[in-house]
């Protein structure tokens, strides 16, 4: 117990150690996070009128980001499956970074739901009258928190074992890894059901929403990890092979292909049928009369995704520069497509046919940026602490020693 507390204290202290670039990055994230906190305090005092949301478009940027981040969290499983099921060696020692990112992404997702609540201080009502299993939102509360706990346990256990320089007991984490695989798929499915179960919103009321969610998540998540792993590689002496990155590239390519295919299915069904259902899709892709707020966004997303996918198909993206370029485009493209492009149009027109557009306010954008900054701050600290522990530079029998030679973990 005392050893565990020492571990936590040492990790906490270690999170303040780094060179000027580390400090600059952390300072930047802290400032943005504090700006977001400041904006949230304003929202807390004055209500959600500080956002661009209305009774017509009652969910916006917050729920869009929430949806996107649930996907990013689920994407860790794209590392877990190759390693634990297909025994992929390249990715073996990288899984932990995917799981740590899942932790950060879930924290961000939960924060985004919290800031969207009108009465966050009544959160305990969930514990007292839980509308389970009827409300999909209660399912979401369970699967998201469960997934957070699973990943906290798996990462925490492995890192603590490395700190103690002892071999992790398979019994203590293998079952959880396999539960987490199914669970990761469930968090995204349940979040999709949140939307697709509403008969009053034809734009969402489609069975393809859940598979589309999974496909886009399995593209954007590993794309983000490709970039992050390179940052880790260049800032630490942790070994990350190009082959591992290229394995991820394959995963991204396949997932993105499926995602584009499903998007095409959706577009065909909407526009070829051309029933009253199509109004929201028309608003999104072509605009309804003078109301064209999302048109530039969705075409930017489609452009980015198409170019990214073509790049991924071509051999040039075996080179890291092109691969990174494709990943950045894809991350942004999916963010638009799955965030703003999926949440907002469902509200336009309203079920009674009124057209009111939605533009996020500065305050709500600051809150969103703040949450992103906080999430990245959490992820940076987690990685910053994990790498030296895995190397044995911080262990039960010694304080942090940056000069120590990496010691292999006991197997």
């Amino acid at each position: 117990m005392i050893q565990y507390l020492t571990f936590l204290t040492r990790c906490f202290r270690l999170s303040f150690v780094g060179d000027w670039r580390y400090y600059l990055w952390m300072l930047f994230l802290s400032i943005v996070a504090l700006l977001g906190l400041n904006a949230y305090c304003k929202q807390f005092v004055h209500g959600l009128a500080t956002t661009g949301m209305t009774d017509q478009v009652s969910w916006g940027l917050y729920i869009a980001n929430f949806t996107y981040l649930v996907g990013m969290a689920a994407a860790a499983v794209m590392l877990v499956i190759p390693v634990y099921i297909y025994r992929n060696r390249d990715l073996h020692n990288l899984v932990i970074f995917g799981e740590l990112f899942a932790v950060a992404a879930i924290i961000m997702a939960l924060l985004f739901v919290t800031v969207d609540l009108g009465r966050p201080e009544r959160f305990h009502h969930l514990m007292l009258r839980f509308n389970f299993p009827i409300s999909m939102l209660t399912w979401d509360v369970i699967v998201l928190n469960g997934y957070l706990l699973l990943n906290l346990h798996i990462c925490g256990y492995l890192i603590y074992c490395a700190y103690c320089r002892r071999k992790p007991g398979k019994f203590f984490y293998y079952p959880f890894v396999f539960i987490a695989i199914a669970w990761a798929i469930s968090i995204h499915t349940v979040t999709a059901f949140l939307y697709s179960g509403l008969g009053g919103r034809p734009f969402w009321n489609s069975a393809v929403i859940a598979p589309r969610f999974l496909a886009s998540a399995f593209a954007a998540g590993p794309a983000f990890l490709i970039l992050t792993l390179q940052v880790i590689r260049s800032t630490t002496d942790y070994t990350i092979s190009d082959r591992a990155l290229l394995t991820l590239r394959n995963i991204v390519t396949i997932a993105m292909t499926i995602n584009m295919f499903l998007l095409g299915c959706e577009v065909f069904t909407e526009f070829y049928t051309d029933s009253a259902h199509v109004a929201s899709a028309k608003y999104l892709f072509t605009g309804l009369g003078p109301h064209r707020g999302l048109v530039p966004w969705i075409w930017t997303a489609i452009g980015l995704n198409t170019v990214a996918l073509l790049l991924l198909y071509l051999p040039v993206s075996r080179g890291l520069q092109f691969l990174n370029f494709a990943c950045v485009m894809l991350i942004i493209g999916v963010w638009i497509e799955k965030g703003m492009g999926l949440i907002v149009p469902a509200f336009i027109p309203t079920p009674l046919g009124e057209i009111v557009e939605y533009i996020p306010t500065l305050n709500e954008s600051l809150v969103s940026l703040g949450i992103w900054a906080f999430g990245l701050l959490v992820y940076t600290i987690l990685v910053r602490v994990t790498v030296p522990v895995l190397f044995g530079r911080l262990s039960f029998d010694r304080e942090y020693d940056p000069n120590a030679l990496p010691e292999p973990l006991p197997h």
């Binding site: 009652s58 009502h125 509308n131 949140l194 509200f347």
Partner: protein, 351 residues
């Protein structure tokens, strides 16, 4: 060569010793901590504007869900709300918890041949139910519809005529349909909204967490959210109020039409019905075979809006078969005499 930031030899070549607390590093650490703390306090500064203490009382925080309250709990809650209303608006309200009556199921019927789109019902509702005036919340939306369709997407929500009706249109008021299979109730994660035995779907404003999932689920756009603290002048308050209906709402919670249950459960008619100048609105107990609504459902060709979404509304529309091609001329005459009320303010003005 790549440079190691966090680990590895190159970052610490000048300093071969492991990190050690020196006076300099101590000072630096303290300054950084103090700076961080100051920044945190500055970020939290807007909370100081938080002056409406009555919004966050411990009593309200600990209050139980409506269905779990004992009569004593309810008395306590009512006393608290009475005191809050009196303090904020200077009016002593006649506040009570009106229970549903056995053998009653309320139903609304609306004669589209008689509705002239004057929007009197909209404003009678706002006055009766203590809705926020700024930003203005309205439970009833009247849609001007071209003839030959029931698709509300073809309608106009923001018509402005000095005189109504426009004889080439008909007018379709929409409010909560009090569905027998309500999607809003299904989705609420905390059971803050439910269907009462007399068919009215109600909201416990002290239980709602403001997630707006019900608002997304409603196919009739009948639910409203308090995006800001409702603005309601003291002389605009209707002191005749009940717990589940028209007592003043706090910011951050949902509200909607509740068939004026504080009136209708005590034998009176809804405010929108009383305000209607043409008698287009009919309300009553469908379980009573002699009631007007029971007769209408039996004899008129009634229909419900968006039957295909399977919500089973308790709000029925019908056209008067005597006037298959026009509005009731008598109602048109009334419309010419009274003029039209403005529609809802543009949403931009809300923010």
């Amino acid at each position: 060569m790549s440079v190691r930031i966090w680990d590895g030899p190159s970052a610490t070549l000048d300093d071969p010793q492991p990190p050690r607390m020196t006076r300099r590093s101590f000072l630096r650490g303290t300054t950084a901590a103090a700076g961080g703390l100051a920044a945190l306090v500055a970020a939290l500064n807007p909370l100081r504007e938080f002056t409406q203490q009555d919004e966050f009382t411990l009593d309200q925080f600990l209050q139980k869900h409506y269905k779990e309250m004992t009569p004593e709990d309810m008395e306590k809650a009512l006393a608290r709300i009475r005191a809050e209303v009196e303090k904020r608006y200077g009016v002593r309200p006649h506040l009570r918890d009106v229970k549903p009556r056995a053998g009653v199921e309320f139903v609304y019927a609306l004669n589209l041949s008689r509705c002239i789109g004057c929007r009197k019902c909209v404003y009678a509702c706002v006055a009766e139910n203590n809705q926020s005036r700024s930003p203005q919340i309205q439970y009833i939306r009247v849609i001007e519809m071209p003839r030959g369709t029931l698709d509300t997407e073809k309608g106009n929500h923001h018509y402005t005529h000095p005189k109504v009706p426009d004889i080439n249109h008909f007018y379709m008021p929409v409010q909560c349909h009090q569905c027998a299979n309500p999607p809003c109730v299904k989705v609420c994660p905390v059971e803050a909204t439910w269907q009462e035995p007399d068919g009215i779907t109600v909201i416990d404003y002290d239980w709602c967490i403001g997630c707006r999932y019900c608002e997304a689920a409603c196919p009739y756009w009948a639910r409203r959210f308090n995006f800001a603290q409702p603005d309601l002048a003291g002389d605009a308050i209707n002191p005749d109020m009940s717990y589940l209906s028209n007592r003043p709402r706090p910011k951050g919670v949902m509200e909607k039409c509740h068939f004026c249950l504080h009136r209708t459960r005590e034998g009176r008619l809804p405010a929108c019905l009383e305000a209607c100048p043409t008698g287009a609105r009919k309300f009553g107990n469908v379980l009573d075979p002699n009631s007007e609504v029971a007769q209408i459902l039996k004899t008129k060709r009634v229909f419900v809006l968006k039957e295909e979404v399977g919500t089973l509304p308790r709000f029925f529309y019908y056209f008067d078969e005597r006037y298959p091609n026009s509005l009731d001329p008598e109602a048109v005459k009334i419309g010419q005499a009274i003029g039209c009320f403005p529609g809802s303010p543009a949403p931009e003005a809300l923010a």
